[in-house]
Amino acid sequence: MLAEAAIPDRSVAAAAADAPAAETTSLDAARLESLYARLEKPMFNVVYRWLWNRADAQEVVQDAFVRVWRRRDVVRMETVEALLYRTALNLASNRLRAQRLRRWLSLEALFERGGEAEAPATGPDDRARDAAIRAAVEALPDRLRRVVMLCEFSELSYDQVAATLGIPPGTVASRRNKALAVLRERLGDER
């Protein structure tokens, strides 16, 4: 269990109106742990399709949980899952932008992290395959990538994905189909 007592309780007066009415719907340490156990893998897989680095992806997922935990006074359990995905996606995008900026400034070497190395590809064929997959995914515009990754990896319904991304449910379906068409075109479609 989390050491909840060690975490100072920060009440937000302004959020009193939005605070969960019943205690059963509030986010506590046990629920957060349960959420993490359930969502770590799907969130990791979504975020990985932005960062392509396992250590970075896991850190971003944890950052999302930490942020939500710090705002637990105003978080509602009914929407926490969507909030976690949205937070993780935004953090991943921000980190990707920061990486690109560092690369542009040629400062990448100064910020190289000693995190977990990527799983080595077993051979040139595997490396070429991974590169092709990455190129195909990165060719997707951000709005399509968000939709298709959430649809494929999360257990969110179309309506929940729509709520997470702030778009109509019909748009979720159309963007998902468009993204899959792009991937089929760039990658193989043999059955």
Binding site: L2, A3, A6, L32, Y36, A136, L187
Partner: protein, 149 residues
């Protein structure tokens, strides 16, 4: 051989020990809330800088030129002969689309009409109006009443 499209959705396992790391991170003290005043100060400074850039020409030479009381007629040939552009002709405002391009013809200040010559010089660029201005520096009375040139 190209991978199949659904290889993009191959499910990877996250590095082990994630829950323990998360517990450790959540057990740490929350960072103190960052003070807001540096951000507000930076925003105010940026707004002041923008305002200064936008308003500077109107408090500079143009304004002096429009104010015949504050501008001695001998300050410079251009000030002498060419009526100053009003604030709405500020190049920054024109560039921002907030003011129309000044229209021809150039007006001479009434006090300078007698001592100036103005000639329109045709050039290729239709967006630029070029005038050749010649001005005679008027006489000014010295403190002892003598005329000096």
């Amino acid at each position: 051989m190209k991978p199949r499209w659904n290889a993009a959705f191959e499910r990877l396992d996250p590095p082990p020990g994630g829950l323990e790391r998360l517990r450790h991170r959540l057990g740490e003290q929350d960072p103190p809330a960052r003070p807001v005043w540096p951000l507000r100060l930076a925003v105010a400074a940026a707004a002041a800088a923008v305002a200064a850039i936008l308003l500077w020409p109107s408090t500079g030479p143009d304004r002096r030129a429009t104010d015949p009381v504050r501008t001695p007629s001998v300050e410079g040939p251009n000030d002498v002969v060419v009526a100053a552009a009003p604030l709405s002709d500020n190049p920054l405002l024109i560039a921002a689309g907030l003011a129309p391009l000044p229209a021809e013809p150039v007006e001479l200040r009434s006090s300078a009409v007698a001592g100036a010559a103005l000639s329109h010089v045709p050039i290729d660029d239709p967006d630029v109006v070029f005038y050749l201005v010649a001005a005679a520096v008027p006489h000014r009375a010295s403190s002892d009443g003598r005329q000096e040139r």
